[in-house]
């Protein structure tokens, strides 16, 4: 039952994506929507990304220093571990999980409301491919903005770590040494590639849930919850595969 249900849903999802991936009817209107979505989904998320990354960077640094560092460990351990955690997992996967909550529910409820108030029908009546018109700018908007969010997250994680140095948890020299120790630039790229996939998952899955709402505001709420749950699950699964693939 659950399996056949999931396969059916996946089929519907693919059909919708088929409709979404079509050439925009009016490029002028598309670019207008695209820029709007980049701001709404990307720029407006910068604040929360910076805030969370700063504190996580700081907390990781403190935890490592308190729990792992000992006289037998090299001085760079704390900085090194902080960097690896931020680069490898936090700034791509965990940050995208957080964004799935913020952006995913936003997308699903916006599109769901358009559905129940017949705005989508109104687009269809005008002879517009409503799926492509509404969803494509959202997907491309978030995918375009996500690398920037990843970089910001990494940088602000480090800023958080330096803030603990200022507070005296660790010396600035040790931290700098650790952050630079054995640096693999590919990890940054891997992080960005992962986030691109996650951004696609968040925007397309949430749009799917919103677009297929039937009923009223109650169903919009349900769709928005489902959007967050299923995009988070898919991000976690995809993370396992991508981590294997990219390392």
């Amino acid at each position: 039952m659950f399996i056949s249900n999931s396969i059916e849903k996946f089929g519907e999802y693919l059909c919708l994506m088929g409709r979404v991936m079509s050439v925009p009817e009016r490029w002028r209107m598309f670019f207008k929507q695209y820029v709007k979505e980049m701001v709404a989904l990307g720029v407006d998320s910068i604040g929360i990304v910076l805030l969370i990354s700063f504190f996580i960077g700081a907390v990781i640094c403190i935890q490592i220093k308190l729990n792992i560092a000992s006289p037998w460990m090299p001085a760079f351990t704390t900085g090194y571990t902080t960097r690896e955690i931020m680069l490898l997992e936090f700034s791509s996967s965990i940050m995208c999980l957080i964004l799935a909550g913020k952006v995913g529910s936003n997308i699903a409820s916006e599109i769901g409301t358009m559905r129940v108030t017949q705005q989508i029908d109104a687009l269809e009546i005008m002879g517009i491919n409503s799926a492509s018109f509404i969803i494509l700018p959202k997907i491309l908007g978030l995918v375009t903005m996500i690398p920037m969010l990843v970089i910001f997250s990494i940088v602000f994680g480090f800023v958080g770590a330096y803030a603990t140095a200022l507070a005296g948890v660790i010396t600035v020299d040790d931290l700098t040494l650790g952050l630079q120790h054995d640096f693999v630039p590919w990890y940054v790229w891997a992080s960005i590639i992962k986030s691109l996939v996650f951004a696609f998952i968040i925007s397309s899955v949430s749009s799917f849930h919103g677009y297929n709402v039937e009923g009223g505001s109650f169903d919009v709420g349900k769709a928005s919850t489902n959007a967050v749950v299923s995009s988070s699950m898919l991000i976690l699964f995809a993370d396992i595969f991508l981590t294997q693939l990219l390392s």
């Binding site: 108030t117 017949q118 109104a122 009546i125 005008m126 002879g127």
Partner: protein, 251 residues
């Protein structure tokens, strides 16, 4: 002209439309009336293609909408305007942007001409000065008028209105009715209105079809409604005491 031939539609085995045959002429205000739940909205959604009928034909000047390719449908839809029961304005756009939207999407006019045309349509529905407001900031009647302005922006050949005056006071309803009727004559459109408002029936009902439980029960004009002996129709129309008194006084 729009012609329906033997239109059937069911949901989960329950037949909502049971073979509707009807004609809607150019330049006329056509009304579909019937009780709540009789299938008016379902019928209109079939006509505009939001639902696909199981059986039957929908002929737009002889061209069958059901058989059309996706491309032909899109072309035909550029000639349609629709006003939804809940207005369905885009709430992320201002009033002016809403009316400009079809022009932005489909016309080759430059920006100044598009703004001019949108402002003209807004003036036509007496909404000068509300251009910069958002749908959430204006009243229900104003929203309906914006929806009308948006629907006529591209000079459609066919205009569809699903209960244009639901939730409006009698006076505003009258204004909306007159507006739709006036525009229909002015641009020689084929207009179809779903309604159960008796004032509309008596006011602008040039051609009326009465749907009873998914079947076409009666066809006629507003004058014929008054003298009709069809029992189902009269019990629907004269459900209100006042109208019955008016009729009896006229006799």
């Amino acid at each position: 002209m729009i012609e329906l031939k033997d239109l059937h539609k069911s949901f989960g085995g329950r037949e909502v439309l049971k073979g509707i045959n009807a004609q809607f002429e150019d330049g006329k205000t056509n009304l579909i009336i019937g009780q709540s739940g009789s299938g008016k909205t379902v019928l209109m959604k079939n006509i505009v293609g939001l639902f696909t009928p199981e059986k039957g034909q929908i002929l737009y000047d002889g061209r069958d909408f059901v058989q059309m390719t996706q491309k032909e449908r899109v072309m035909l839809r550029r000639e349609m305007g629709m006003i939804f029961q809940a207005a369905a304005l885009f709430d992320s756009m201002s009033v002016l942007e809403n009316v400009m939207f079809p022009l932005d999407m489909f016309s080759d006019m430059n920006l100044t001409d598009r703004i001019k045309r949108a402002k003209f349509c807004l003036e036509r529905v007496n909404l000068k000065g509300a251009e910069d407001k958002f749908p959430g900031e204006i009243s229900g009647g104003m929203q309906k008028r914006v929806a009308i302005a948006r629907a006529i922006a591209l000079n459609p050949k066919y205009l569809f209105c699903d209960e244009p005056n639901s939730g409006l006071d009698p006076k505003t309803s009258l204004v909306i009715d007159e507006l739709i009727h006036g525009i229909t004559e002015e641009y020689n459109m084929t207009t179809i209105i779903n309604t159960h408002d008796m004032n509309s029936v008596m006011g602008i009902g040039e051609h009326i079809i009465y749907i009873y439980e998914g079947e076409l029960e009666w066809v006629g004009t507003k004058d014929e409604v008054m003298s009709s002996t069809n029992e189902r129709l009269t019990s629907f129309i004269f459900a209100s005491d006042m109208l019955r008194k008016v009729r009896d006084a006229n006799k």
